[in-house]
């Protein structure tokens, strides 16, 4: 069956992120001038305005900062089979937030501050999405 959900349209700034996802790595930009981590990708650092940066691999660990449970599918034909599903803002240990889905847990059991780790799901030959799943608190 053809994958009919929105697919990220990478651009020159975001291509390294999606390339790394395809290799099972969650990466972030790190400003080589001031050390600030940033996500989503940008050309300039919002702290020091330097364009110099490197891509670093995130440990992929973080906490649920906020979340929603989508129960009414929009568009219906695209998400009818997926509801209920969880979208969360995850605060990564590196100090940035990233939107994603929480998988591997019943939606009703998601809690604030829950410890999560990245897990990758290949949805097309070109695109792999970084999702998150609960892990024990000590990780």
């Amino acid at each position: 069956m053809t994958y009919n959900k929105p697919l990220p349209a990478e651009n020159v700034e975001t291509k390294p992120f999606w390339d790394a996802c395809r290799q099972g790595k969650l990466t972030l930009q790190r400003c080589t001038n001031c050390g600030h981590h940033r996500f989503p990708p940008t050309y300039f650092c919002s702290k020091c305005n330097s364009a110099e940066h490197e891509w670093i691999e995130s440990k992929g660990l973080g906490r649920v900062f906020s979340w929603i449970v989508v129960r009414h599918p929009v568009p219906r034909d695209v998400y009818a089979a997926d509801v209920p599903y969880v979208v969360a803002l995850i605060a990564l240990d590196e100090g940035v937030r990233i939107p994603s889905n929480i998988v591997g847990i019943e939606p009703e059991k998601v809690t604030a501050g829950m410890r999560v780790r990245v897990t990758f799901r290949q949805v097309t030959p070109e695109i792999t999405l970084p999702l998150f799943e609960p892990v024990p608190e000590q990780q």
């Binding site: 959900k5 990220p8 349209a9 975001t14 989503p40 929603i68 803002l89």
Partner: protein, 385 residues
């Protein structure tokens, strides 16, 4: 800071029917609201020389309205590409434009077939370009889904409850009962709210405003001139537009916003109150931007009507009802009157300040706050009679 306290006024208002299916072009809705605002003021089409509007790629530019109604020489036209955050900013811009001498009589409008045409709440571009590539692929697509994420933050931080959201939905509906413009006029109870279908937890159907076809327009001119016109002037005492750091790459994006448990309101509060020479305790009634129930709570806190985190309890116990200390959204709000992207709040403010609100009229209204916007940026005004 806005430095034109009471120097400019709203001298006319106009609006179309609000419906689910206008069967009309957006241009004709805009023109109808503008013609009615001109007529309400006692001026003529030929007196109009400026326009400020906003749209979400779902409306018509001012020149098309000027063309349809036959404005002989528009000297200023500004079509903001914006969300509801602009609904008060366009009025402030009109005052600034007149102060600068670019025009003398400015129409501000918002027109949309928001239900039968482009539906803001229903979904967005699924192509996931730009910043959307980090949201839509995870099924995070609609504005109710966006705002629910904010609401959850407030619940996490402050223990805000579903019943506190419900209090807003029930109160605003009770105000709409006496409003012939309102899309939803049947009273609802707290049980109706609790039983309302969960759309995107924590939001139920009754937490979400009503997509609407329609248009609103307000006519702005100098206070001096307004005093010689047909209607009692409503003075623009103060206003502000803005937000904090990291307002995002579009109106949906708040990935880098400091914390979704507060919104733009706290960042504009000082400018707003200083510009008006007033504070929250000087406000008789308020029309607070309620695209969703929760957005009202953040704005009440941010503008200083209560402390941060206390917005939930603040809206309980009758304080915000028409008989309470601070009546809110006396027309029913975007939740029950309809969603003309916030400009309908300004219409209601003007009617209340003129004493023209009929069965909805709140006694002795001298000041009314209006706000516009829910997330990282927004605008607000203090209006008085």
């Amino acid at each position: 800071m806005y430095s034109l306290r009471d120097k400019y006024a709203i001298a006319g208002i106009g609006y179309t029917d609000f419906s689910k299916k206008s069967g009309r072009t957006v241009r004709s809705l805009a023109s109808e609201a503008c013609l009615k605002a001109i007529d309400d003021s006692g001026l003529k089409v030929a007196d109009i020389d400026g326009f400020v509007s906003f749209n979400f790629n779902d409306s018509v530019p001012a020149i098309s309205v000027a063309t349809e109604i036959g404005v002989p020489a528009a000297r200023y036209a500004n079509d903001f590409l914006s969300g509801g955050n602009a609904a008060n900013m366009i009025v402030l811009t009109a005052a600034a434009v007149i102060e600068a001498g670019l025009a003398e009589t400015v129409l501000c409008y918002r027109a949309m077939n928001g239900r039968s045409g482009f539906r803001l709440g229903g979904g967005r571009d699924l192509s996931a370009h730009g910043i959307t590539q980090f949201t839509a692929p995870f099924g995070w697509i609609t504005y109710p889904q966006a705002m629910a994420m904010w609401c959850r933050r407030h619940m996490i931080e402050y223990g805000t409850t579903a019943d506190q959201l419900g209090e807003l939905a029930v109160t605003f509906r009770s105000n709409a009962v006496n409003n012939t413009r309102a899309m939803q006029r049947d009273p609802i109870t707290m049980d109706d709210y609790r039983n309302s279908r969960m759309i995107v937890d924590p939001f139920r159907m009754l937490d979400i405003c009503l997509e609407t076809d329609g248009a609103c327009a307000v006519l702005v001119t100098s206070a001096e001139r307004a005093r010689d016109l047909k209607r009692k002037p409503v003075y623009i005492s103060g206003g502000a537009y803005g937000g904090g750091p990291n307002q995002g790459e579009d109106l949906f994006d708040a990935i880098r916003w400091p914390d979704q448990s507060h919104n733009y309101a706290k960042y504009i509060a000082d400018d707003l109150w200083r510009s008006a020479g007033m504070g929250p305790s000087d406000i008789d009634i308020a029309q607070i931007y309620d695209c969703f129930t929760y957005s009202v709570i953040m704005q009440l806190e941010g503008l200083g009507f209560c402390k941060e985190g206390e917005g939930g309890p603040f809206v309980q116990g009758g304080r915000i009802t028409r008989d309470g200390a601070l009546p809110l959204n006396t027309h029913g709000g975007l939740l029950s009157e309809g969603y003309i992207h916030g400009l309908n709040h300004v219409i209601e403010a003007v009617q209340q300040l003129r004493g023209d609100a009929g069965p909805r009229q709140i006694a002795d209204v001298e000041t009314c706050l209006t706000t516009a916007g829910a997330m990282t940026c927004g605008s607000a005004m203090v209006l008085r009679n």
